[in-house]
Symmetry: C2
């Protein structure tokens, strides 16, 4: 099947300078701060965003090279299938984090509660909407005893 | 900034044959059924996934061509900034849906509760983990009176 090409819409700047400094998930990094630098050509698309407290960021794990289908997750010592874990070493290294929007000024969005390494290319910003983005009665497999 | 290239890991087959048949969001399509056809080379990565009831699917909006930075969302008549709405007509047409995993057999994953059009190229599967993927005290801007 043919390749799909995207172009970053901005860069995430953060206090997290390497993967080893990163909390395992954004939810564990509530004190972490950062800034989204949206490229100026997309600025108009930020209209109406400031009413949302939380954003879904979709980004490229630029430090990840290659993947294996079976890997040990951060939170366990047992190797697991890559689609059952949240490792950056995935067939398509696409990351997903929910962050808190603190302040917007021009093309700069101050955010907190993140796990994203400084310099990460940003692919999309979506508003986080609990009605759309949560579910009831969820079972969480192997991670049940880890979180 | 340089382009980023991904390759689909599979295809979503569904009862939804066109965008106009699609519920506005997966949460509104609980009765909708579909199947993920994972390409065989990724099969091993499905290990441990069956313990999870819900999956995050990241996919390419293949029917979307072009975008505008200000658009009317499905749920309102007032034009909004593209990053404050969930339209497929985005700078990078990346979709995100949480679906229910009903059954796995080989490379086929039966799913329900979806809003994904038949034939959509799939980029990633992640386990949905409420601890990581929900937040408290969320404000939802313009959509507050619509959902």
């Amino acid at each position: 099947m043919q390749e799909i090409t995207y172009r970053p819409i901005g860069i995430v700047h953060s206090e997290i300078k390497s993967r080893s400094d990163s909390p395992v998930q954004a939810v564990y990094g509530q004190e972490m701060k950062g800034t989204i630098e949206l490229f100026p050509e997309y600025r108009e698309g930020l209209k109406d965003l400031e009413g949302f407290s939380h954003l879904i960021l979709i980004f490229h794990f630029h430090l990840s090279s290659g993947f294996t289908l079976i890997q040990k997750p951060f939170l366990d010592n047992i190797p697991r299938g890559v689609f059952s874990i949240r490792s950056p070493r995935r067939p398509n290294p696409i990351g997903l984090s929910i962050v808190k929007l603190e302040k917007m000024k021009g093309c700069d969005l101050e955010i907190s509660g993140l796990d994203i390494v400084d310099g990460t290319p940003l692919l999309d910003i979506k508003p986080f909407i609990p009605k759309f983005d949560t579910r009831e009665g969820v079972e969480v497999g192997w991670i049940k005893y880890k979180v």
